[in-house]
Amino acid sequence: MKFYKKTSYSEDFRLFRDGTMAFWYGALFLLLLAAPAFVPTYYLSQLVLIGIYAVAGAGLMLLCGYCGQISLGHSAFFAVGAFTTAILEKHGIPFPLALLGAGVLAAAVGLAVGLPALRLSGMYLAIATLAAAFIVTEIIVRWESVTNGASGINVPKIRLGGFVADTEPKLYFIVLAVALVTLAAVRNIVRAPLGLAMMAIRDSETAAQSMGVPLMRTKLTAFAISALLTGIAGALYAHKIQFIDPDQFTIFVSIEFLVMIFIGGIGSMHGIVLGAIFIIVLPQLVAVAKDHLPAVIAQQTGLQAAVYAVVLLGFILAEPTGLYGIWRKIKQYFSMFPFYRQGSLKRTKSFAKSETW
């Protein structure tokens, strides 16, 4: 079993737990940098999508996973980000500003929604965000003069000075950069006092408040940051698929985001990326499996959604700690071998406290 011998307090909150971890992540980083050289374009584009979803996931993980507030409306911020960047760039605004504008506007919408809803228990937030998502989508559809309504918009390519992101690898590097910065920023917040305050709110608002955590302000901060990140992800998404219309941003997208962070592993940084990988890879697996299934099942239009729901329920019932939880159990098993027992990592159930809902 590996023991971590720490010699200074700062080791508690280092970015990487120890040299070994830093090494592996460094290697991963180099691999990702080199990817365009040996990965086929199709798979590269999947990596781009994973990166985009990871940015959105990071925001939502901060809000739901760490701060404990549920949002069913993040598709709205995704949409706001996508449309804002498309519209700004069509008017000649350079990409970096358009990206920033997308995030800021999404954050502003987030504040507008959060201010009324966050005053109450979490469930009202979930429902209010759901309502907000419907309203935002409707506004996008009706505001034809700006958004072209239901017909949608063609998204210009990313321009940075003379550089045009007209190939997949170029888009890939931009998305990779944004994703890495996002993950680092969220990781920093989590290990800083603000992150601790957010987790305190998740576990006991009364206690958090008694220790000086301003509830409303902290929740709003988490909400605004998550909206901002989702908006930025939306902007990148717009550039990836090059054509956006309101129908792409339904409540399913919100649910997809939630499912992503849950299956990845609530309350963990790894969960963000694992969840993103899962959500992008699953449809591919279903598509592949279709070729091997009897026609009766394979041809069903609902098959992908059904698999999706079944997998989600499977995780909820059997492994609520998500993919990251499974990963930790595997590591634990091998590090404790042969002393591993079934109950080693079992968590005790806590009963629903109305107070925190």
């Binding site: 307090y9 700062s10 508690d12 909150f13 920023a185 920093n188 917040i189 290990r191 800083a192 006092p193 603000l194 992150g195 601790l196 305050a197 987790m199 305190a200 998740r202 576990d203 006991s204 009364t206 206690a207 958090a208 408040q209 008694s210 220790m211 000086g212 955590v213 301003p214 509830l215 901060t221 309350g267 005790t348 806590s350």
Partner: protein, 256 residues
């Protein structure tokens, strides 16, 4: 702090829920470095009074002053910033976090880093975190809970959780400590330890203690003054012996 000034001044405070007056016309002052106990049968309004002081409830009448400053209407999260920390009757800890993280939250009110600094994890944030850790380690030493440092609170025995909650309040470096039934659920040994800790908190840390207690032996051993309450009102206020011998107090407990 001005010499002779009271730490906490409660004047004619009252709160009603619907028609029921949970606290009615309570007035008392807590002197610096005093250990002040509040006793009374269940439903006397003791915890409600605490909730008024820590601003979870809004009083319908009266005034509360801390260190001369009126805190009757401040925001709940500003209470600890003013210098008052508390524990809860039913223990409000973060079960999914380690003892260390729970204690570290006690340092939250001392934090000065802004959002941007934290997002970038600047050296300032790093220094603050290390300073917080040092302070928390002092509390851990004081309460002798070092071996539980990295254990998830959810898995700890009740007695230890109570001590962790006390530690979190101490980590905030309060001037006034509100303890809600510090000995409830503790066995005889743990209660004796609590006696020593409360005294040490007053003697070594220079903290004034206001506590709700049912255990009379603890109250007699440790308190300078006692306030007896019943049905939201004050019954008696004075030295522990006097209050315990007061016939009105005896009647209240025996159901007069």
């Amino acid at each position: 702090m001005r010499a002779g000034a009271t730490v906490l001044d409660v004047s004619d405070v009252g709160i009603a829920f619907g028609g029921l007056k949970a606290v009615d016309g309570v007035s008392f002052a807590v002197e610096p470095r005093e250990i002040f106990a509040i006793i009374g049968p269940n439903g006397a309004g003791k915890t409600t009074l605490f909730n008024l002081i820590s601003r979870i409830y809004e009083p319908s009448s009266g005034r509360i002053a801390f260190d001369g400053r009126d805190i009757t209407h401040i925001a709940p999260h500003d209470v600890v910033r003013s210098g008052i920390a508390r524990t809860f009757q039913n223990i409000a800890l973060f079960d999914n976090a380690t003892v260390l993280d729970n204690l570290m939250l006690g340092r939250f009110r001392h934090g000065r880093a802004g959002l941007w600094q934290q997002t970038l994890f600047t050296p300032f944030v790093r220094r603050e975190k290390i300073a917080d850790r040092r302070k928390v380690e002092e509390v851990i030493d004081f309460l002798e809970i070092g071996k539980y440092r990295d254990v998830l609170v959810g898995g700890l025995p009740y007695g230890v959780r109570k001590i962790v909650e006390l530690g979190r309040a101490l980590a905030a470096e309060p001037r006034l400590l509100l303890l809600d039934e510090p000995s409830s659920g503790l066995n005889v040994e743990e209660t004796n330890d609590m006696v020593f800790w409360i005294q040490d908190i007053r003697d070594d840390l220079d903290v004034t203690v206001l506590m709700i207690e049912h255990d009379m032996s603890l109250v007699s051993a440790v308190s300078d003054r006692v306030l007896a309450m019943s049905s939201g009102r004050m019954l008696a206020l004075g030295a522990p012996g006097d209050v315990q011998r007061d016939p009105a107090v005896a009647a209240a407990y025996l159901g007069g």
